[in-house]
Subunit: 213 residues, 3 copies
């Protein structure tokens, strides 16, 4: 399955990183007991905003995109500090942020999966790498804050939304769909699953063992 990567305009990429980073700072604001300083908030912003992309590129054995541009790091740092200072405003906008974030994980997933396919990675790990691109930032954020990894716990389908979207991309491309259309479909699927999961409180079952054996 040889394919081109799905590129989004630079402003969309920067915007998605900014949203991720801002969210990281809002999340960190709940933990005043950690005594994070301004640099700590910036680190959380960087980790949340493009940690997923860095994990993707490290696993693809490529120089990370964030190391090739002067724009990513300042975007993430400024977005994190804006999020921290204006937390009172953004906390009133939590619905808007949930919607933008659903779009962001859709975009990151689509970029990750198509980049993996473009490099020659087979379909199954390409789906995985798309999901890592989408949710890797939140994993790094939780590790750096010594918190349980949110995406591993019972909650509103976040990584599953990313996996659904990236799987749809691989299937579409296998059926000969053009990569841009496949990517757009993937973003829509991720967005839809995530928003529906939030609205209807969908979640995966908790870990359990069969008792009657």
């Amino acid at each position: 399955m040889n394919t081109a990567a799905f590129f989004i305009p630079a402003w969309a990429d920067i915007l998605a990183i900014g949203i991720g980073s801002l969210q990281g700072a809002l999340f960190a604001a709940q933990f005043r007991d950690r005594r994070l300083d301004l640099l700590g908030v910036a680190v959380i912003g960087i980790a949340t905003g493009f940690g997923g992309g860095i994990l993707r590129d490290v696993l693809l054995n490529q120089l990370p995109a964030a190391m090739q541009s002067n724009w990513y790091l300042p975007t993430a740092v400024i977005a994190a500090l804006v999020g921290m200072f204006l937390e009172r405003i953004f906390s009133r906008l939590s619905k808007v942020i949930t919607v933008l974030d659903a779009l962001t994980i859709g975009l990151f997933g689509a970029i990750g999966t198509t980049k993996a396919l473009a490099v020659g990675v087979p379909p199954v790990p390409a789906v995985f790498l798309g999901a890592v691109s989408a949710v890797g930032g939140s994993i790094l954020r939780d590790l750096l804050l010594n918190l349980p990894i949110a995406i591993m716990q019972v909650g509103s389908l976040y990584a599953i939304a990313a996996l659904a979207g990236t799987s749809s991309i691989v299937v579409s491309i296998a059926f000969g769909v053009n990569v841009t259309i496949a990517a757009v479909v993937g973003v829509v699927v991720t967005f839809g699953v995530r928003i529906l999961a939030v609205l209807f409180n969908w979640s995966l079952p908790e870990q359990r063992r069969l008792e009657k054996i």
Copy 2:
């Protein structure tokens, strides 16, 4: 020291990953308070089953083996879910699992060290990379579960068994032994040290300082 990598048949590789992943899920089952969902169990399975191999390949600056095949990820996910559902059965088989696991860390260590040597890495880091291949999965598992890293604590020689085996491989090859024989010797050494440590409760001393200075 130029050498070929030690290859094991694909079925043995897949089996070893399955055993690692299944063990990760059994381990995670002790922590019901974490509220892991099915995806969380799958993530632990993936991390435990081939986290070591991914760390090895990232440190060798190579595209990870797990990103080059459609088989690794489903194997790890299915093994983890089987481990979770059938935990009551497997908990009765803990001796069998300890034996299979000792074999698994031996295999992962041998693959890691010979791959490192084949890439041109010098003997000392090759021993280190073999040990990382063997125990890296358990380190990632503990990080993702916010637990103390088991291999760093007083316990039955686990990483030491891997280091003994991978050291024996490097020494054997330096003495001109064929790579396959050296690898088999390495697996036997790791297996032997680990099983004897479990049987006789061998462990390393705890950290301590000299008091009379």
Copy 3:
């Protein structure tokens, strides 16, 4: 901005790694409740001593320097064990160690930033990679010990000192300063900021939000 990397003599590199590793072991000695064994102390030494260099090289998509030499790993292991055994002596030398450590983060930062520039990384991520080289080891140390990440918390400008030094390098080189002179200036800036911060208790403000909006 095309430039050569700043090389330090091998003995200085080994010494810097030994100081980092020794400090890791002294730090770990505060946590007797973790029941670290000798291997655990060695792992902390390795992570603290050249974790930053490994993160740097992984992010630069290069084979890590530590995987290309037989000297790094034994240096880190021996320094960690010496630190552990002789903790009573070194704890009386804490001022000397603070000074040597300020020099070490300056050196690691200068090596990291100039290596990044030499590989063709733009200025902003080159500053970031220098800081990662300098403080990445302490981040890995804290992760492996399940501790809050020290550099993210209110404390005496540690990462900020590294960022100040690596920024000065990038600015100097942009103004046409020779790489060796720029690197020396960077080490002096990092050293100066760090030591002044310790002496005068300088720190960054804690995370806060604007309340009147």
